[in-house]
Every structure is written in C-alpha cells, then in structure tokens.
C-alpha cells in the first residue's frame, strides 16, 4: 500500500461496503475508521436516494440519538433496533470468539486488557457485528482465545447477533455462522494469500482464487477527502488531522 492515508481509506471503503443495507449502526467513541465507514455509507445512500443511515457514536454528545443514558444502546440492540456494531479483541480465535480481558490464566493474567465492555451482550444481539482489528499477527489471531469475553456462536440459545466479517490491515474474512469459522474473502493490495496464512494463528477456509480488496474509486476518494473528513473532524479531530497530514 502506498501509505498511511491509503491504508485507512481502503479500510473505510471496505467498512462502508460491509454496512450496506443497514439502517442503524452504533460505533464506539474511539473508533474513527468504523465511524468513517458508516459516514461514507450514509453519504452514498443520500446521493443514491437510498434509505437514510443512522449513526450513533457512543459517548459523543453531538452524534447521540439516545436520551435514556448508558443503558439505551444495549436496550436498543435487544429490541433489534441496532443493525451493525464493531468489536475488536486483544485475541480473536478461529471460532470468532473474542478476548478483551487478557492473556494467561484468569484472574492474574499475564497481560491485562481493559475488560469485556458490552461485548458479551452485543455479540448476541446485533445482527451484523464487524470484527475490526488492524494488527494482523499470530498473537492476535490465535487458535483459541485465553478468555472468551464474547462467544461468536452458541447453539444452546437462540440469538440474532454474531460476527459478520473480520477486517484487518491485511485482509477481509467472512464469517460463516453455520460452520462457525472464517473464510478469506479478499487480500489487501501489497499482500498475498500466503502472507495472510503466515500471520494468522487460526485455520480458515481459503477459496482457490482470492481477489484483491478493491481500493476506493475516484468518487469515493473525493467524498472521503471532502465531506467525510469534515464530518469526522467534529467527533475525531485528532484522527481527521492525522489523515490530512498523512496525505
């Protein structure tokens, strides 16, 4: 990839594609790339006369459709009113389980991460959870997480939510809820399927032919560098500045 800005623009463009068709996406307060992806989809839908997209940025005072306190996003998800959400993970395993707690033996974990946040709940309730983790390495993508903050599939209970895709700095995977595993969908420019295999600690399905992840087209780039950066700057000023400086 040609640079930091291009890397981010590609991720934003992929996310907008993954969100296509949703009505309401919730985004964490410190997730500028997912937020930019959602904003890109919103702008595209507006141009195409498609249904509007609602973006709730958690913890933001301005981009906040909620009036019932911290619980509302969770209730809203339980009501089926949140179509998409993003989760990361210190570890993510081949079954789609995520670990936000730490490595080693709980509770005195070797490395401690912040904690599970709302993942154990939202993973069950939001139909299209996009796993987004930029670092693509065997220490992140492990055969089995040391602690399951949130489980991807649970046949013992009915659920509407779960993983939809996994996006990293190197590749995009689909998640299959029936088999309970990932399949490589595309590899970002500059990487090969072999690079992905070498940097992924879990097994996944690899089709015979793997396309390159499409880079954003000219129209998208114009939107991204104009309107989206402006919108993003209101909530993520540091990120928007960094994007412009990287240009």
């Amino acid at each position: 990839m040609s640079g930091e800005r291009e890397r981010r623009e590609l991720l934003i463009n992929v996310i907008a594609g993954l969100l296509d068709g949703i009505r309401h996406v919730a985004v964490g307060a410190s997730s500028p790339i997912p937020a930019a992806g959602a904003m890109l989809l919103r702008a595209r839908n507006e141009r195409a006369g498609k249904p509007p997209v609602r973006i709730s940025i958690l913890g933001s005072q301005e981009h906040n459709f909620f009036t019932n306190g911290a619980v509302e996003v969770f209730d809203c998800a339980a009501q089926g009113r949140v179509d998409a959400f993003f989760l990361g993970g210190g570890q993510i395993d081949g079954a789609g389980n995520i670990n936000l707690v730490g490595t080693g033996t709980y509770p005195a974990t070797d490395v401690r991460w912040p904690g599970s946040f709302g993942s154990a709940y939202l993973y069950h309730l939001v139909p299209r959870v996009i796993l987004f983790r930029e670092e693509h390495s065997p220490r992140v993508f492990v055969p089995k997480v040391d602690f399951v903050s949130a489980a991807a599939t649970t046949p013992e209970v009915r659920r509407r939510g779960g993983p939809h895709a996994l996006l990293t700095n190197m590749a995009l995977f689909d998640f299959d809820r029936i088999s309970g595993g990932f399949a490589l969908r595309s590899v970002h420019p500059g990487y090969s399927p072999a690079d992905i295999r070498a940097n992924t600690g879990f097994d996944y399905v690899e089709p015979a032919s793997i396309p390159a992840t499409p880079a954003p087209d000219a129209e998208t780039l114009a939107l991204l560098r104009g309107r989206i950066m402006e919108e993003l700057g209101e909530t993520y000023p540091a990120f928007a500045r960094a994007m412009q400086q990287a240009a």
């Binding site: 410190s30 906040n64 401690r112 904690g115 599970s116 946040f117 939202l122 399951v148």
Partner: protein, 270 residues
Amino acid sequence: MTEIVSLEALAADVQPGQSLAIPVTGVSMAGTAALIEAGARDLKLICVPISSMQADLLIGAGAVSAIETSAVSLGEAGGAPRFNAAVRAGSFALRDSTCPAILAGLLAAQKGVPFMPIAGIVGSDLLRVRPDWKVIDSPVGEPGKVVVVPAIAPDVALFHAPEADRAGNIRIGRHRELAAMAYAAKRTFVTVERIVDRNLMATEDSAAGVLPSLYVDKVAVAPRGAWPLPLWDEYPGDDVEVARYAAMARSEEGFRAYLSGFLSQRKQVA
C-alpha cells in the same frame, strides 16, 4: 433531605468497607482527590459500567479492595496502568463484568428485586468467573436459557454534575445512568460546578433532566470537579493531562509523583 457540605465532609463520610459506585460520564475527580486525601481505604468499587483515570487513581492510592467493572482504560491514552498492575499482583478482588450486566444489577436494586434477567452473555467465560450469575430456564413463555445477575445496591454513589439547586436537585441531562446509580444506592453524594438559586424542577423541560433531591444525600461544590476528565456542556477532557498521567503511572514511583501533584493541584482549584 439533601445536605450541602464541604468536599472534605462529603469524602469523610465514605467508610472503609463500603461499596462505591462511580460513573464513566460525570466523574467526580474532585471527590476522588478528597477521598484519597481523607485516607479512604478498603473501598469496593463498582464501575458504572466502566472507569478510566478515577478507578486507576484510587487503585494506585491503595484505596480499593475490590472492583466490579466491565473495563478500566484510559481510552486514547491506553491501558490503565495501576489497574493492570493490581490485577497482575492480585491486590484486590476482581469481578469482571459486561456493561449491561452492571446496569441490570443496579436496575434490580432500583426495583427492589433480588435479580434481573439479561439477554446475551451465554458462552462468555464471564459466566465461569462470576459464579454469582446464573443461567436459568425462563419461567414464562417459550423454553429457553436466560442469564440472571444479582442486584447491585452500592453503599454510596458518587458523581459530578454541572448544577444543583438549593433543594439538592441535580441537573444530569440525558445522563440517566447517574440517576440509575442513585436509585440503586443507599446514599448518593454529588459534587457540582455550582449551586444555582433557581428551582431545577420548575419547568417540565428542566425537570426532565433532573435527579430529584429525594435521592441525593450530600452535595459539595467543586469547580472543574471532573478535571482532567470532561464534563458535558462545561469543558472538554484535558487529553494532555491524561496522557501525562498514563506515562507517569507506568511505575509506582511515577504514580506517587503524579498523585502528589494532582492532590495539590485539586486543592488549588477548590
């Protein structure tokens, strides 16, 4: 009825061994400093539903014997160094949770019921490390497993808000999790930027964003009382200061140095 007291008096009334609920928005950093100054210890923190620098400071100061939280993080500034160190050292009882479970536990206390059912969670190792959570068969409707979590009734809820009126009504705006904490808690202590003469309950619009004094035991004035964290409609977070904390608190010595500066700085504001 609500008492209007000094910050010191407010802090002095939190007893060792008590559980203390603290929020993620409307954080009383002034109250936190006052607690540390007062030698608070053996606190059982309940983060509603997560915490950042507030929990980390209290942990670093040795005031915390137990913590229930869905996360402790300094956000953009990275992990919470004293929390992480204490977890590794096993210095407190750790009750990992997930945001809506803490809110559900408070709701159970608000409603005077012993437990609250909650969607999701099945499959998470949280169920393994939280033996107080149960998976039951739904007693009504279609058969199905449901997680239930016990009520959380904090001894004290502590938060910071822009305004109180003379009667002790608190302006919380949309931040209704602050009300949820107060409903569930046995006592609620609030620090505020200022006390106003008008009645915050006077109009329907104003009252809609108010926690009534009925739930508020003590109010203390603490200008810039959330600093270096943000307070809605009042000031943004001081990200440089939080980053400075994150860097210094990596070591025990650095933390001590930061804390001493922080306490004297808070005193100057007060």
